[in-house]
Each structure stands twice: as C-alpha cells, then as structure tokens.
Amino acid sequence: MNLARVFTVAQREWREILRDRIYFLLAFLLPVMLMLVFGYGMSQDIENIAFAVVDEDHTPMSRDYAHHFIESRYFSFKGYLPDAGAADRLLARRKLRMVIVIGPRFAEQLRGGRTARIQTLIDGTFTTSTRTIQAYVEAINLAANAEIRAGQLARRLGLPPQRVAALMQPVVLDVRYLYNQEVRSIWAVAPGLIMLILMLVPPLLMALSVVREKETGAIYNVCSSTITRAEYLTGKLLPSVAISCINAVILWLLATLYFGAPFKGSLVFFAVATLLYILCTTALGLLISLLVRTQQAAMIISLVMSIIVSIQFSGLITPVSALAGANYAFAHAFPAMYYNAMVKGAFLKAVGFEVLWPQLLVFVLYASAVFFMCYLLFRKRTRT
C-alpha cells in the first residue's frame, strides 16, 4: 500500500466535497436537519398544553378545582373565558388545546354530596397527543377528587386530612424510573437518532461519491493508472469517514446541549464505538456503490436499506428481543442494532467497554469483512 497514492485520492475527494455546494450541504446540513426534525417529531413528551377555564360557578371551590390544572407542569394556563362559545373559537384557531368548563352549580352540588360534572373540551386532531392530554386530565381529576373527598370526610369525622388520605389509599404505588428518571422521551430518542443518522448519511455519501466517478468516466483515471485497488478504496473511504466523524461530534453536541440529554458514560468508549460504527456503515455504502451504475440507484438503494434497518431492525422503536425468527436474524446482520445498544448504554446507563466490548469486536470484524468484499468486487478491468 503506497500511502502517497491513498493520500492523493483522499485529498482530491476532500477538496471536491468542500467545493461542491450540493454535496457539502448533503454532507453537513442533512445530519443536523434530520436530528432537529426527528428530535421534535419523535419526542412523545407533551408539556405546556395551552388551556383555559370557563368558570360559571365563581366560588372558592371551583377556583380550587381549576387550580389543580393551573399548577401542573403539563398545562399552560391561558386565562379564564367568559363562556363556552369563546372556548370553541379559540380551540378552532388552535390557540388552545384543551378547555375545562365548570358548571354553575359546582360548589352547591359538591356540598350537597352529589356528583358534579365538569366538561373538558380537547382538540382531537392529533390522536396521540389527544390521548395523552386525556390521560393527564383524568389523572389530575382523580387527584382533585381524592383531595375533595378527603376534605369532606375529615370534616365529617373530625380527623386530620392526612390521616383520612392514608385511610382512603392503603396502598400507594411508588415508581422510580431508572436511567431516565423523568421519563423524558427525548432522552431516549436523541441517542437513537445518532444511530439512525449515522446509518443513513455515511452510506449515502460514500455510494454517491464512487458512482459519480463511474458516471463521468473519471473512474477510468483510476482504472488505467497504477494505483492498486486497496489504495483507491482506502482513499475514497477516508474522507467519507472523516465527514461522518465531524457529524458525530455535531450530533453529540446537539443531543447533549440542545436537547439536554444526559451523557453518563465514558466519552472514550462512545468515540471508539462511533468510529467503528461509521466505518461499518461507510463500508456498506462502498459496497452499494460497486454494485450499481447510476447515482439515482445508489441513492435509492442506500436510503431504503438505511431506513429499514435503522427504524425497524435496530431497537429504535421495537426492541430487537421482541422480533421473531427471520426478523431477529436480519436485525443482527446490520450494525445499527449493536450501536443502538451502545449509544443508549453510553448516554443513559454509563455502560462502557467492560460490558460492550464484544459488540466492538463485532464491528471490527464487520467492517473488515465488508471492506474485503468491496476489494473483491472492485475491478480495474471490467466486463462492461
């Protein structure tokens, strides 16, 4: 292997990437864009839901009830409305997502020991968030009920309210969420996105850069010269890997600083794992580029492969252990699944080399095997 020739190929490639505006945007803007779009899109946390209250009762009790919602971190109180008609208009204009209507005889009914009815109006256009809002409302209502009932009983029995509360709820469920204490989904999504984007972009860039040479005929410069196959392939691989490493750093910064995901593990482990993962995915792109002739084909094949593998078979949405039979085996044939475990481990569990070293070994073998396949497939003297 003559390093001068490897460097020559790599340097030329690097210059072209930096100067070709479209390729440059593809290389550096696409990953950031994907991170932001998917980061917001895939996060299932719903907070600060705009809501308002129509209080037709105007009693301390009705204000007390409304206060349960106003205090919640999930809701953002926008004020009191005079009537349900105003609520309708604001809901239609999407200024509000939820409205609580407290009827005129709320306090009276409660005092009389009867059931008071509260109306909640929820914007149902987005089913997932609607269900989440409904669940929040029900939970808060439950808490309010318990408090009201405890108050009533305490007064009737002459006991302190805490005591009554304990009597009413003999078993209290005390949940502690591990690794993601606040169960914020962006914490879990952001590391997953690093996996997804590094599965998507490096193969795309790599495949395009080789096929482009095939299309223009520049590949003949290589084929008709004395550079060896391994030198050329290495020279092509290096700039792509370098771009992806830069992107990995940017993505890590976005995940931790912008999305606020915690990073509990070892940075060294994360860096090594990411580099190896990038080598694997870039080598896959190289493999694709040697099998197709046009940039369109290279783009479609690499995107379809990446999307299917990283979304369905990586554990991003469905855990791999839940896949059956062939799907389970298929997931194991791509690096995304292993990296998904590593990146989550590094971010949320502080798991490092001591647990995940076999996966790193898999990456080394994987990248070497794919690269060797590329070496066998790439011919300087072709049939067509």
């Binding site: 210059r15 223009t216 004395t226 049939r383």
Partner: protein, 657 residues
C-alpha cells in the same frame, strides 16, 4: 515523422491486436479486429458511434476485458487483470466525453497534480513538466481556474495534459475532438504532434469525423464492430478507384434523380450535386454524367480525387452485399414547387440571451426563406441550441426578437406551434415505444384525425426507410433509423418550418446521407424551411446557406461556396506541402509569416494569396533550411478552413482592440 514511421516498421509493433472480439451480453460490439500500431505513429480509429472504437481502446488500455482474440501491448499479452496492470505504467488513457473525466471543482493545476501524484511522478519532474505542458497548451495563465469554468477547447487540452503528465510511451485518446471547435481542434493536433515527436511516443486516437483522417499516419475505418479498411490515408483514398465529381445543374431535383439511377453515391450539397463515380476516370465520368443529364442544362462541373467518406461508403457497399435502402427513391419529382412565397419563414433580429453573467447568444440576426436549408455551424457551447430554443419559443430571449412565419415567438401561442416541427438534440422519441406507437403518439399530440394519422404513418414508414421495423422499439433501432423516425414524428403535422438540433450527431455516414436526402426532398419538393445545427464541418456543405457561430456570435453568413470564395479572395488558396522533418518545417513556416500553417498528419496546409508564386517561395524557404520538400500542391478549401479563417480573423481583431 514520416521517416520515423518507416524506420520503425522494422521493429515489433507496440500494440498488436489479433482477432479481437467483445460482446456486451448478447450484443456484439467488436467482431474480430486485427491491427498493429507501430512505434512513433499516430494511429487513427475512424467510425460512427457504435462502431466498436471505444471498446477496442479500453481493452488496449487494460480497463476492459474481452471475449476472444488477443491484445498485446509492449509485448505483454493482456490475458488477465494482473497482466494489464503490468503495462499501465507506460500508457495514458483519456476516456470519451469532453473533459468529463476531469474534476469539475478542482483548478487546472490541481487536476494536473492529482493525475501526476496518482502516477507517483516525483515533485521536481512534475513541476518541470507542468510548466512545459501548460506553456505549450497556453493554459498557464488560467492555472487557478476551476475546471468547470473552462471552455470546451481548454477542457480538451487540460485532459490531454493530465493524460501526458506521467510521460507515457503510448497514449490512447477516445474521441478527443468531438464537439470541439475547429480552431481548438487544429491546436490540439499540433500540440499532440509536437509532444509525441519530442518524446518519441505513440498515440492511438479515435474520431467520428471522416475529415480528420488526414491527421493520422495510419488509420482503420471501423463500422459495426469490424475494420472496413486499414492503411495510410492516401492509400485508403486510392483503394476504391473512381473520381469525385461536383456539378451544378438546372432543375437540381430532377438531375439528382437521373444521376441516382446510375451512380450509388449521389448527394445534393446546397445548390451543388456531388457524385462519386466509382471505377471511372475523370473523362469517362464527365461523359457519362453529360449523357445522363441530357437536356438538363449543366452550369459547372469539376472532378477531384475521392474523399474518404466516398471510400468509406463504397467499402461498406462492397462488404455488406445488401444495398442500402434509398428512402427518397420512387418519389416523383414532377411536382417540384418553386420555393414559393416571399418573406422569411424564420427570422432572428438581434437575438440575445444571457444566462447570469454569461452571454450565450449575442445579437444574432438571420432569416430563412421557405424551401431553404439554413445551417448553424459551430462547436459545442457556441450558442446554436440556445438560438433554436428561442426561435421555437421554449425560452424567452433577453433581447431582440425571433419570429416564425412573421409571428413573434414571445407572443405566439399554440397556433404557431402547429406550424413548426422540432427535433431536439437529446430527446425526442420515447425509446420504449415502437416505431408505429411513436408516430401515433405524436399524431395524437398534434390532434390529427384517424385518417390523417394513418396517412402520415404510411408516409413516415415509406420516407424514413422504416419498413420492416414498424414493431421494433425506438430504443433498439440503429442511430440512423432512430433519427429518421424522430424526423418523421416532427413532421407528422406537416409543419412548414423545421428545426433540427444536431440531428446527425453520432450517425454513420450512410445514415447521414440518407437523412440529408430526406431533408433535401422536404425543402425542394414540399417547400419546408429548415434550420439545422451541426458540428460536422463537412455536413455544412449540404446547406443552401450557412451561418458560422462562435462564442454566441455569427461570424459569417452566406452560401457555402460563397464563403469559400470570400476566404480565397481574402487569404488565397489552400496549399498542401509535404516536407520532412515536418514539425521543424511547420515551425519555420509559421515563423516566416504563414501564421495559419496547420499540421495534417505528414502534411502542412496553409493559405497563400498567389498560390504559384507562393509555392516557389515556400520551396526555396524550406530547401534553404535544409529540409526535404516532397511536393507542394493546391487543395480545395474545406469548410473547416473557412471556419478557422473567420474565427482567427475575429480573434485577431479583438486582440488589436
């Protein structure tokens, strides 16, 4: 160089190809080619697209495997990829497609450096060679300019420099001159000759232009995967005995029909008729033609030695027993309509078009009468296609106006589009549809009735020589037939104005002649006004009138013969000089005031006012310098000479300002 080639003949050949066969899947690309390339020569492969030139060159360069036969380069038989690697150090290969193999974002210098480092050229040698080659190609002042901003001629020269930077002993250039303007082409041949001579290297060069044959020391005429003829250009011309006759007669269409009944190769060139009288000498040809024309008045007639294209077609007739379909035969010329109406069918007035800062078309004016064939001649990027696009209303002009049938194209709606037919450069057929389906589709687009459609379908099949191909898909047709089908589709609604954008690019000479025959018929018999663009200089002779385009401008506009006459008047006749050694002779002549002297293989061409006196002076000049002078003789001016003359005059004028 001539001597060098002769001496070298004793040595073993540098490249030996024997029984070479290449197939792509079931399709045969090259079917048994045998040839030798000797040390120090420029060997040419001439043939149309699909003749097998590229496959053969790639195999010799060691980048393409083959199916049978042997290829030996520098004594190494290229039996495997590993064997091919052994010779790659000593050869340079430039693939087809002008500058496409270069790196668009890199500057001239970075491109050169890349190629050099890929070949491990030491830094000191690189620096020295780079300066020398940049100086020869006059690219030095542009060294920092990105490749994507270079003109066609500059890209071609840069590609050549990149191929030569590791000083290969054999260079293989695949169609280096296609689409390049004639001035750059001349430049290219000179640079190539100088470099090869200086280094004693050998070149294998392919081209689709028949008129480039005289640039080679030896050449092979290729067609359909076979070599039709091989040898030195002069030998090839003599291989098929006969004379080439140019004549001008009244009732041109009728004269053409009568001559076609006797001679296989008859074609109309503007107002002239060109006949290749095979197996006849000048006197016999003269007598026979006069007898055939009989009562048709003959205005002028002269005969010359045959062109290579005549020989090519005659060889084809010999090798392939089946005669070529003659699409226009059987047509009655009785209904000849005189070029009817007055007024211009197509008119351009100060037409200009800018793309950003770049002025693609610069104040172009011309007009085309009904029944006239008007040619726009120029290199790739000269502005021909942009002109057509403005005249057909596809893009609006930045300035000036273009009108068809007296209607301004910017305001013209559907009505005008019914009146024009357009065959575009790249795409005008649906390649997955059959011949019949294509015609029906176009008929449907133009809203023809069922009866009209059947009528035009029959007309297209008959006139396009497409009988027997009705159910073939357009994509599977040979180039020549495909272009005739495209023409038929463009004519389906009987337009009175026809725009053709490089319709004959890549078509073989036989196909081109048939295509022109149809155009001739359309213009003379049906009175259609035709505007055609081409970068084949020889093809320009078919036009009634010609506009030479260069860098967005029209540099001359007249009948081809008139253009030649004007050049002869301004600069004199064309002299061919054979002197050896030829390169120093060329340098001497250029230094002695003959700045337009150009190298054609082993000969020098130049323009001289008083040919006889100049001949004597040249003889003296060369002899005094101790050079051997073979012969000095007159040659007819070619369209390329005309083009080069006008462009260099224009450039000189600009340089003085």
């Amino acid at each position: 160089m001539g001597q060098a080639a002769l001496v070298a003949a004793a040595e073993p050949p540098l490249v030996r190809v024997d029984g070479f066969v290449k197939r792509y899947g079931r399709r045969s690309a090259v079917a048994g080619v045998t040839l030798d390339i000797r040390h120090g020569e420029i060997y040419g492969l001439i043939g149309p697209d699909g003749a097998g030139k590229s496959s053969l060159m790639k195999a010799i360069a060691g980048v393409l495997s083959f199916d049978a036969g042997s290829v030996e380069v520098f004594g190494t038989s290229l039996v495997s990829e590993a064997a091919a690697e052994l010779v790659k150090d000593r050869l340079g290969f430039m693939p087809q497609g002008l500058g496409l193999n270069l790196y668009a974002e890199l500057s001239i210098e970075e491109n050169i450096d890349f190629f050099a480092r890929l070949r491990l050229v030491p830094a000191a040698a690189l620096a020295e060679r780079k300066e020398r080659l940049l100086a020869i190609t006059r690219l030095a002042q542009f060294r920092g300019r990105p490749m994507k901003h270079l003109s066609g001629g500059m890209k071609q020269k840069l590609a050549l420099v990149c191929t030569l930077i590791h000083e290969p002993e054999l260079i293989i250039l695949d169609e280096p001159t296609t689409g390049v303007d004639p001035v750059s082409r001349r430049d290219f041949w000179l640079i190539l000759s100088e470099i090869l001579h200086e280094r004693g290297a050998t070149a294998l060069v392919s081209t689709a232009y028949m008129d480039e044959a005289s640039r080679f020391h030896r050449l092979a005429l290729m067609f359909d995967g076979r070599v039709l003829a091989e040898g030195r250009p002069q030998e090839l011309r003599r291989r098929v005995p006969g004379v080439s006759v140019q004549l001008r007669a009244g009732r041109q269409a009728e004269a053409l029909a009568r001559l076609s009944s006797r001679f296989a190769q008859v074609q109309a060139l503007g107002a002239w008729i060109h006949v290749f009288a095979q197996d006849l000498d000048a006197a016999a040809a003269d007598a026979e033609i006069r007898a055939l024309l009989d009562d048709i008045p003959l205005d002028e007639m002269s005969s010359t030695e045959p062109e290579l294209e005549d020989v090519f077609i005659a060889s084809l007739h010999q090798k392939t027993a089946a005669p070529f379909a003659d699409p226009a035969s059987g047509q009655s010329f009785a209904a000849v309509r005189p070029a009817a109406a007055d007024g211009a069918a197509i008119e351009a007035r100060d037409l200009s078009r800018d793309f950003g800062d770049f002025r693609a078309v610069d104040s172009v004016s011309f007009s085309v009468r009904p029944g006239e064939i008007f040619g726009l001649l120029g290199a790739n990027g000269a502005g021909k296609t942009t002109c057509i696009k403005m005249l057909t209303g596809i893009i609006p002009p930045t300035g000036g106006e273009g009108s068809v049938g007296g209607i301004d194209m910017r305001r013209a709606g559907r009505a005008i589009k019914q009146r024009i037919g357009y065959v575009s450069q790249a795409f005008s057929l649906y390649t997955d549809l059959t011949v019949v389906e294509n015609v029906r589709l176009f008929a449907g687009i133009y809203g023809l009735t069922r009866r009209e459609t059947e009528d035009r379908l029959a007309w297209t099949i008959a006139n396009g020589g497409l009988a027997g191909y009705e159910d073939e898909t357009a994509g599977s047709l040979p180039m020549g037939l495909r272009q005739r089908l495209a023409l038929g589709c463009a004519l389906v609604h009987r337009p009175q104005v026809l725009f053709l954008d490089e319709p004959t690019s890549g078509v073989d000479p036989v196909g081109r002649r048939q295509f022109w025959q149809i155009l001739f018929h359309l213009s003379r018999v049906e009175g259609v006004a035709i505007l055609i663009t081409t970068h084949y200089m020889t093809e320009a002779e078919h036009c009634d009138r010609l506009a030479l385009m260069y860098a967005g401008r029209i540099v001359a506009d007249a009948a081809p013969a008139e253009l030649k006459r004007r050049v002869a008047e301004e600069a004199g006749g064309l002299l061919e000089i054979s002197a050896s050694p030829v390169l120093p002779a060329l340098a001497l002549l250029r230094g002695s005031g003959f700045t337009d002297a150009a190298l054609f293989g082993e000969h020098i061409h130049l323009l001289a006012a008083d040919a006889d006196a100049a001949g004597a002076r040249l003889h003296q000049l060369l002899s005094q310098a101790g050079m051997t002078v073979g012969h000095i003789g007159r040659r007819p001016l070619s369209m390329e000479d005309v083009f080069v003359h006008y462009v260099t005059r224009l450039e000189r004028g600009e340089a003085m300002q």
